[in-house]
Symmetry: C2
Subunit: 500 residues, 2 copies
């Protein structure tokens, strides 16, 4: 007996920890949003690329195995004698693809990519180990015109998905300006770039904490250090008050116009060639964008954008949604960032030894879809199919003929194929969010008619109508000649659309 | 020095063995084909499902680990204490999803799924370890009306992608008829289904080899056995000549009409209840399909369809393309199968203990795309963007303004962002398959005009035009006022479309 029991132990029907499935409109609405975005990318001359989901660990780079099993952050396994892994983003594969196929690709190479990526991280609420990314990058040109183009494209893409102008801002910053600041405060020496790395790290991390710690906390971290509430002490960057002032000034440099902001930044980086170059780049981008109609109402210089400043090498950009939503406790809060990117000039060099300039943006697919849902632009319940009920199993051929007629007229339709009486069939139709149920029993067949049940109207009537007269005036069920099935269903669905 | 050399060893820019990347139209044409197919599925009431790419090895089932590392056929790795793997098809995940979410899903549950699957198999020419599948299944109903519906849907989907009626056939068979044959020849005992398993296996394998071995070879395998050219002997099923005749008769049972084929099958399975049930199912399906307009010109009973008979439990169906293509040596050959499916009633039972009837089809995405390319319905070169050349770097803002105008008019356009003279820029435009190049140098700017170069026409003219008069009559380059840029480009592209 024990052995028999062991034999019938059943597998658990569960996704692995941190993975999930997507159903119905979750799939179609994401696909529709991505199709809208990639149509904009296509209009900008970007070509699609779908790279392999599996890469050699060697090509992914960041995660080279220094232990037997390189599982830091990625899902990796040994394929015969080589470690391979699922891609963790779409940028590392782009660098590999460009290095591998550079002789066959146009230069500059504008490409977009959409697809799942995988992260071997601790899952949490709303935090999954497989999710979509949607990237666009231009590889092979150093001109910031490429960065400006991507900012304009991002702006167009957001508006195309249904985020109105005024409800988002694309914010621009530049790593070189920050480097200029670092030079001015003496923690970056152009002649010896590796010196002061630890103090630069402290400055970068302090800047990144402005939101959380406020002015005083950041000033403490820029100076001697900071003791937090628990009493733990974080070592500071040991800047003088004057030096710290320059860093604080950088983050607060935003003025009413791009020109004024640039002028303020130019003051702050006085004496640094790199800093001046960064300000020039910001000015050039603003000029190019203004010329093509992407003014500060859409894209503006904002030195408070620091996300990614540690990673990128030149322009950095981020799209923020500026409208308020309610959080789970009903409190208003800003939606925040839905896309970010910038210039990274050394990714391809790993493979070829040659520096290949590149710039690109990644849209947070799940976040943008959540934003569209919050704006009522997505998250709608899908219209279900017209359901032809099956009163009499033996007459399935008649019911199939009906759905074939409806489908040939472009109407989504299905026959009920399960078991059960009329009540169960109508319940199924309701659960499917079906607009219309079709009923043809023995009596109807004999008289050459069908009953059409307007399920949505029926639900509304049941909730709202008070008198019998009203019910009769707007019947939720009607009898029509069999020959007029398609025309009548179409009419009911059109009325429903007009009502909603 | 040796140490320094080691340090700069560069990673190889290569996909792992058996994986590949897809570029440009390879991506868009597959997506377009899949969008067409899923639109048909949607019209039939099927809902999309996108399940996790990673499953527990336990849920995938077939590959339960009986060794430390379960790598037979799948890519698997240890995730903390559980083995997980990339899905190898879309059916095993459906069974897991249905078992996991059955209380929230409609019943019957019609779903379609599109996405990559992964196989840990030896790669070969044209045989990759990641490829797309496109499936549609109905879970939760035993009626063969569901099987018929899927056959009709498959037929509609093929026609929607561009395979004309007459160029394909959906062929129907039924596992129960084969089981009836097995009963009649004495290798299947309904009272003891496990008996004779070995001989049934030999019969199944023999049937499957009809194409390759011909009548005589199959007869040998059904009887004593067969010695192949190398002298190796394959044990036969030990059927008598009369018994073998019944098997051969089964495979050759196709007649001019479905009714005649069914009648012939009914003769062959005389005495077997299962066989009679299978014939009834085939008849019912043919009846339902005829009633909704899917006659034998699209869907027909063909007992020679044996693919999958070992796996499925009831109806089996397969879509074959019947037109000829040329193989790599220029010889005509039939295109063959592009989709297959059938009824499998026990996949969900593994999880829940309850038998859940299901039926479904899988389209071979790469094969169908190859077929459409062979028919000239896919494989076209994508139209590249209008390229605005950048004669003068300092005037990038003007060029950006031009592409913004073109894009706002819905025209795909880009500025040349690379380095190089006009010759290099026009070469780039050609490589991009650009329809029109826009040129505005100092002189043009001063006169308020732009040059438009019709690149496609230019190529044709260079090849075909013989006299100077003709050249002038249809110039490949024209000067137009700057203000008429968009209108003129649109006119040139419309003319191009009309010409092609």
């Amino acid at each position: 007996m024990a052995k028999d029991k062991l034999k019938v132990r059943r597998p658990r029907a569960e996704t692995p920890r941190g993975f999930r499935d997507y159903f119905g409109t979750e799939v179609t609405e994401r696909n529709r949003m991505l199709a809208t975005i990639t149509e904009v990318y296509h209009r900008y001359g970007f070509d699609p690329l779908e790279s392999s989901a599996v890469e050699t660990v060697e090509a992914l780079g960041k995660f080279l195995p220094d232990v037997d099993r390189p599982n830091e952050g990625v899902f990796a396994w040994l394929d015969e004698d080589a470690w391979v892994a699922l891609r963790y983003d779409l940028t590392a594969p782009l660098a590999r693809v460009f290095a591998q196929h550079r002789n066959d690709l146009p230069s500059p190479y504008r490409r977009y990519a959409v697809g799942p990526v995988w992260r071997n991280e601790k899952p949490g609420p709303g935090r999954f180990r497989q999710f979509y990314q949607c990237d666009a990058d231009t590889v092979g040109t150093p001109t910031v015109a490429a960065d400006a183009e991507i900012c304009a494209m991002l702006s167009d893409a957001l508006e195309a998905t249904g985020i109105p102008r005024g409800d988002y801002q694309v914010k621009l910053n530049n790593r070189k300006v920050l480097n200029g600041i670092m030079e001015v405060i003496g923690v970056l020496d152009p002649a010896d770039p590796d010196a002061h790395a630890a103090r630069r790290g402290i400055v970068l991390r302090a800047i990144d904490k402005l939101d959380r710690l406020g002015d005083a906390g950041v000033r403490a971290l820029l100076g001697e250090g900071r003791k937090d509430e628990s009493g733990d002490f974080t070592q500071g960057a040991q800047l003088s008050a004057e030096q710290a002032e320059i860093v604080m000034g950088f983050m607060a440099a935003k003025r009413d116009t791009g020109a004024a902001t640039a002028a303020r930044l130019r003051e702050l980086v006085t004496g640094s060639d790199t800093g001046a170059e960064g300000v020039n780049e910001l000015e050039t981008m603003a000029e190019l964008l203004d010329a093509s109609g992407y003014g500060p109402d859409r894209i503006l210089i904002d030195p408070a954008v620091v996300r990614g400043l540690g990673y990128y090498t030149g322009p950095v950009y981020e799209a923020e949604l500026t409208f308020e939503i309610r959080d789970e406790k009903g409190r208003p809060r800003q939606f925040g960032s839905v896309a970010g990117g910038g210039r990274y000039d050394d990714l391809v060099k790993r493979f070829t030894g040659q520096s290949v300039p590149a710039t690109g943006v990644s849209i947070g697919v799940d976040r943008l879809l959540a934003a569209l849902t919050a704006k009522g632009r997505a998250g709608m319940v899908a219209e279900g199919p017209v359901v032809v009920t099956a009163m009499d199993r033996a007459r399935m051929a008649d019911y199939q003929r009906m759905v074939a007629e409806l489908r040939n007229a472009g109407i989504r339709a299905e026959v009920f194929l399960g078991g059960g009486n009329m009540g169960k069939q109508l319940k199924y139709a309701d659960a499917r969010n079906s607009p219309v149920a079709v009923i043809e029993g023995e009596d109807e067949q004999a008289r050459g008619v069908v009953q059409l049940k307007d399920l949505a109207l029926g639900a509304r009537l049941a909730a709202a109508i008070e008198t019998n007269e009203e019910w009769k005036a707007q019947p939720a069920q009607m009898e029509v000649p069999r020959a007029e099935l398609v025309a009548e269903v179409r009419r009911m669905m059109a009325r429903r659309e007009a009502d909603s």
